[in-house]
């Protein structure tokens, strides 16, 4: 789950990482109130989960209430690369002497935590990695040991952070690491991490991505879920407990298992079609799950055909077939289904589907993944 900047800053504040005084606003009046509380000058920042806000006019400096009113009015409702701005973050503007970069992630290849620290912040770190890789310090941290204050100080020195900022950066690194580990982040990034003329080091931006698997030990994440931007189909799927991702194509996909679902998308694409979604119904594939899945697919107006791709392992073919027949009785489908049922007891399952009295215009069965994909794509054209 990716957080908005303002949520990231609120999350940072829980771990004592210094951030600018400010507040979030959904109306112009709220923005003015936030500015008055933060103290002028302020920066009005569009809250969208996409890069390039500044260039798009989504970040503006304001010296008084009138300017806040103008900028917040312009930015709220603005479309930035397809993301409509619903909120602005208004914070006290900071004087900046220098800009650095700091982040913690998990390096999956090394199976260790990775600190990236650079004295060249405020720009895309990927760019720095290409143009000046020596300017980025990469330090692996054993999750069992963690990051000590001494190691953080050494990292700041090794990254050639100027001496006057080294202690401040090291202090923030220790706090950011705690946020990353105890806060169950996939990514905790500060860019830019700034040095003020006063000598303080401070997080001017916040990019935080949370690990959904750790949800059970973070009741405070509830408020973040409320603002997650899902389309209507994804919202419905979540309510029904399905793993669903909306796409732009015309063939609705239902498969059991994430790998098989991805593979189904690929095969549809290989035979000239486009998938309307990714949907993994998991191992069970019973009637309730199948009905829910068909409900979600049916709510997508772009869907012209539905490809159900089931491989029975422990789930037996006849159970899957019964589930589909029952689900079709409950959901009035707009699009025809092509099913490929394979694996344990697939024969019995196919018999059940054949004898269910469903007309072939609504349900066809194909023996292989490839043939089923071809049939579904033909129906979608």
């Amino acid at each position: 789950m990716d957080l908005f900047e303002y949520q990231g800053k609120q999350y940072f504040a829980r771990y004592d990482i210094p951030v600018s005084k400010g507040d979030v606003a959904v109306t112009v009046d709220q923005a003015v109130a936030a500015a008055e509380a933060a103290g002028y000058p302020v920066v009005v920042k569009a809250q969208v989960q996409v890069g390039g806000r500044g260039k798009a006019g989504g970040i503006k400096l304001a010296n008084n209430a009138d300017e806040v009113r103008t900028h917040a009015g312009n930015i709220l409702g603005m479309d930035i690369k397809g993301h409509v701005v619903k909120r602005v973050w208004v914070e006290n503007a900071s004087d900046i002497d220098e800009e650095y970069y700091a982040s913690f992630t998990l390096d999956r290849a090394a199976k260790k935590h990775l600190l990236m620290l650079s004295r060249e912040g405020g720009v895309e770190i990927e760019e720095v990695a290409v143009t000046n890789p020596d300017a980025i310090l990469m330090l692996h941290i054993d999750p069992v040991d963690g990051l000590s204050a001494a190691a953080a100080k050494k990292a700041a020195i090794d990254a050639k952070i100027p001496e006057k900022a080294q202690q401040g950066v090291a202090d923030i690194l220790v706090k950011l690491y705690r946020c990353f580990v105890e806060g169950d982040c996939d990514l905790a990034e500060i860019n830019p991490l700034i040095l003020k003329p006063t000598g303080e080091v401070h997080a001017l931006d916040a990019k935080v991505s949370l690990d959904a698997n750790a949800d059970f030990r973070h009741p405070e994440w509830e408020e973040f879920k409320a603002t997650e931007e899902l389309d209507a189909r994804e919202q419905l799927a979540r309510e029904k407990g399905l793993q669903y991702i909306g796409l732009d194509g015309t063939v609705g996909i239902i498969a059991n298992g994430a790998g098989l679902a991805m593979s189904t998308l690929d095969v549809v694409n290989q035979v000239g079609g486009t998938a309307a979604n990714f949907l993994d119904i998991g191992g069970g594939a019973n009637a309730d799950l199948m009905a829910s899945a068909l409900d979600v697919i049916n709510s997508d107006q772009n869907v012209k055909s539905i490809f159900i791709n089931i491989f029975g392992g422990i789930t037996r073919g006849e159970e899957v077939a019964k589930g589909i027949v029952e689900a079709m009785g409950r959901v009035d489908l707009r699009a025809p289904i092509v099913i490929r049922l394979d694996g344990t007891n697939a024969e019995e399952g196919r018999e059940i589907l054949k004898n269910a009295g469903i007309p072939e215009s609504k349900l066809t069965s194909k023996p292989t993944m490839l043939e089923a994909a071809e049939a579904a794509v033909a129906l979608a054209k």
């Binding site: 290849a109 260790k112 054993d142 994430a258 593979s263 690929d266 990714f278 491989f311 422990i314």
Partner: protein
Amino acid sequence: MAIFVDQNTKVIVQGLTGGQGKYHGLRNKAYGTQVVAGVTPGKGGTDVEGIPVYNSVAEAVAATGATASFVTVPPKAASAAILEAAGAGITFIVCITEGIPAQDEARTYNTLVRDFPKVRLLGPNCPGIISPGKCNIGITAGEIAELPSAKGPNVGIVSRSGTLTYQALYELKQRGIGVSTCVGIGGDPVPGTSFIDCLREFQADPETHAIIMIGEIGGSAEEEAAEFIKANVTKPMSAYIAGVTAPAGKKMGHAGAIVSGGKGTAQGKMDALSAAGVKVGNNPTEAGSLMAEIVAGLR
């Protein structure tokens, strides 16, 4: 021969008294696996259809001499269960639990490496391992696995994806090709056992003559495997990578499968494997056909 587990492997099930543990534990036993004990704290002295249950792994190991454990407990308890098994002398741990926080996985893995270097963890969030006809630990349906033939050639399977592991087994069964061992390493960010660990074992296993590898988008495990193959694997291989059409930035079902920052794409992985001499199919069936050609050439 087979890799990691065979007919002599004695297995305990941590979580045998739970719904999933009982179901899969009994299925594994019915397949012929030596499931010798269960472990559930507080339920020692009871049994599950004749399988004795102990309060701790240490007690179960002392009573049965088990060397492998099947961990099927909820995400909150999984890390502690894994470390308990390692501490009690278990050397092969299969954890099927889905939904363990990445921070817990990273800490558990590195604790094993440091304190229990001889212990192998398979998973978490994996379907398990089957050496057909000998031992089945996890959730694989034994009937879709073709038995290895005495004269060969037999194929080893290693896969990051659950259902595609079954698909791979099934592709071989339909073609009558025997399987030495099939390992599902799981798709989580910090898998205990990597492609490379399995490839090394398959390369050394006299009963394995060729290898199928099933990968998916995200991370760089397939690219690392390709480097290893180039330098160390002489047995012929076919492969399939799921997720060619997956959009960037969207997690496809589980934590591992995501293309981010232009890294972890299916095409990059396919190219790396091809360059290492692996025959790469565009779908699981094609990977199966390619393997059938390889096997025909070996016969």
